[in-house]
Symmetry: C2
């Protein structure tokens, strides 16, 4: 086992598996700001707000248990001084439940021509002012500890889809060195730290990387580098052969995924945690996810459609508003349209993972999965 | 008294004066969808949504008692077929408290080059598709009855500021004929109908018009044609000499006004009802109204300002968020910024009229008014 100079560990963290049904499992994650029932979906709150949602709505109506913040964006705006003045991200944004933050790696690598990778870290020009910055493993841990994240993510490189094996190996080796430096840089005993395994869709590379990362004292482990353009089936296959390589006593987090069917299929393959911008971003364009498939509520077919978005949904939107009214709001550019569609989409995602968990606990996950796909096919894309 | 062929009256409507303090008065307005305590401010919900607000927030957190909808906008979008399919505006927008709708006159006359005034009504091209439409007194009553408004407004011409006396007299005479046709066109006994007096800032013209309109069987009377560019003092003076000309047993509504100080000053002059886009529109630009004056929360001075918008406010925004966070949201273009600022501004307006009412009932309105202005001056514009 690789030795890590620093012995700081998260003292408030624990994870236990509650039930297992096939490869799917239900768990309970204890974090500084509360308990999370897994499998769980984490709404994305990039700059300290889940777009269009009040935090109290998010808690009491979406029943979100944990949300995600983006280190890169928060570092730039409002900046660490402002977050520090508030006493951390939770207090600044009025959210007292757990927060996971990414490491900023994904955003920084997306800058392509504006960044330079060195052993020390990544130098980049930001997308707002064009100023120069250096993100190192030590720096991103310092930022995330300032944010006060319940779960910090290690600094990794997310290689572009289709990178060759030579580049992948070099990148993964550097990522391993960076992730060890993250472990060594941590100082807070109330912030957990998750490692991130790379390796694209290659079983061999995934195994190599996880053999290195698995023994390290991370509180959880993530699959990075998926949902970057590969075929859906390749993503499912990769998840299927990767989850058994991950430490079973730790939560398994699939980063940046996905649509409702992706959640169900990856829960079936052993994933505990998800995050994705899809429910919030698509809601703003009027693309709504329901138990009967996708409803594109802007479409003319809904002009006088008096049905709710989803007959099976208990959210405020579905209890009070018709598709015709939602269409009107979106067509008129009224903020309430994105607000109501976001509320519904997030509630649907949280309901879905909650139902999956219940099915796992009750040993009927396969029946749940089958019924889910049947109902999705029933509606079709409208 | 002018005879009106039609004897349809609103059977669900009543108004009673509860207390009077100087010219200021407190009242109670009974409407089809509930009771309204006056003086009252009505948030504007142009196309069937008070911008950025959920109707349940508006009811339980802003404590709005009645809102305003715009006939012109709703007629164009979503259109009457859609509203009718829902069974009226209340059901479509999920708002079960009273709604007042304007007659569309103001919007139609604002189209300037795109409209032609005839005795029959106004022909215009709409601002969305450029199609031709004809609004007549009969048509706007039909539209408002389809919307199912608790209070409909009569069809009037709002003459441009600075129109000469000759034009004013012609316009007012035509408006009187139109308003009588509105009374004759009504068919529903659960929709009240208010008349609108014009006359610019001329005491003589205001008197002439109200002498004609006053005896007509409207349930309430409005002052139109103010807040169209005249000096604030001229507006106050006009309100002061006009309210005594209005029937005392009916509510007195000042259309399109105003800022917090305008509300206080016009309550002092006998006004019972107000509506204005200022609290909602300005909120979206980060201009917030508080008990200590205006706070422009986008300003750099609030970058690390940990204070709430208003130390005296009990709204969700003021209880949970700092000015620094609100500034961050607005600067980042996040929807939550307008949402939270709108919630605060509306709550502040509703709190203000509620406090004014309490002061009137307790016979200490002058002290309230004095203290209001002192506190406003304390903060100043920041």
């Amino acid at each position: 086992m690789t030795s890590i100079a620093n012995s700081v560990r998260c003292e408030t963290f624990s994870f236990r598996e509650v039930a297992r049904d096939g490869a799917a499992r239900a768990g309970e994650l204890q974090l500084t700001h509360g308990t999370v029932q897994t499998p769980i979906f984490m709404p994305v709150g990039t700059v300290g707000t889940v777009k269009a949602m009040r935090p109290d709505e998010l808690a009491s109506q979406v029943e979100a248990q944990i949300i995600l913040g983006n280190t890169y964006h928060l570092y730039l705006r409002p900046g660490l001084d402002v977050v520090r003045a508030h006493g951390g991200l939770h207090k600044m944004m009025g959210w007292d439940r757990p927060i996971l933050t990414d490491s900023g790696g994904y955003q920084v690598f997306s800058l392509k021509d504006l960044r330079k990778i060195r052993e020390e870290g990544v130098e980049f020009q930001d997308h707002i002012s064009g100023s120069y910055h250096l993100f190192t493993p030590e720096k991103v841990i310092e930022i995330q500890e300032t944010l006060g994240s319940d779960i910090m993510m290690a600094f990794d490189e997310c290689p572009p889809a289709g990178a060759d094996e030579h580049y992948m190996r070099e990148s993964m080796a550097r990522t391993t060195r960076w992730e060890k430096r993250c472990l060594e840089a941590r100082t807070r005993t109330d912030c957990a730290l998750f490692g991130i395994g790379q390796g694209g869709t290659s079983e061999k590379l995934r195994r190599e990387h996880l053999e290195e990362l698995g023994p390290l004292p991370f509180e959880g482990m993530a699959i990075g580098g998926l949902s970057v353009g590969e075929e859906t089936q390749a993503m499912y296959d990769t998840v299927e052969f990767t989850t058994p390589m991950m430490p079973d006593e730790k939560p398994k987090y699939l980063m940046g995924v996905g649509k409702p069917e992706d959640l169900v299929e990856c829960i079936a393959r052993g994933i505990d945690m998800f995050d994705c911008v899809i429910p919030t971003r698509n809601a703003r364009n009027g693309q709504c996810f329901t138990s009967r498939g996708v409803v594109v509520v802007r479409n003319a077919v809904h002009k006088e459609d008096l049905r709710p978005l989803d007959p099976d949904c208990d959210c405020y939107t579905c209890r009070n508003f018709t598709r015709a009214y939602l269409r009107h709001l979106l067509k008129s550019g009224e903020m309430l349209g994105p607000q109501l569609c976001t509320l519904h989409n997030l509630r649907y995602f949280l309901t879905l993972v909650g139902q999956a968990r219940e099915a796992i606990v009750e040993g009927r996950f396969e029946a749940f999965r089958k019924r889910f796909h049947e109902l999705q096919a029933e509606g079709g894309s409208r």
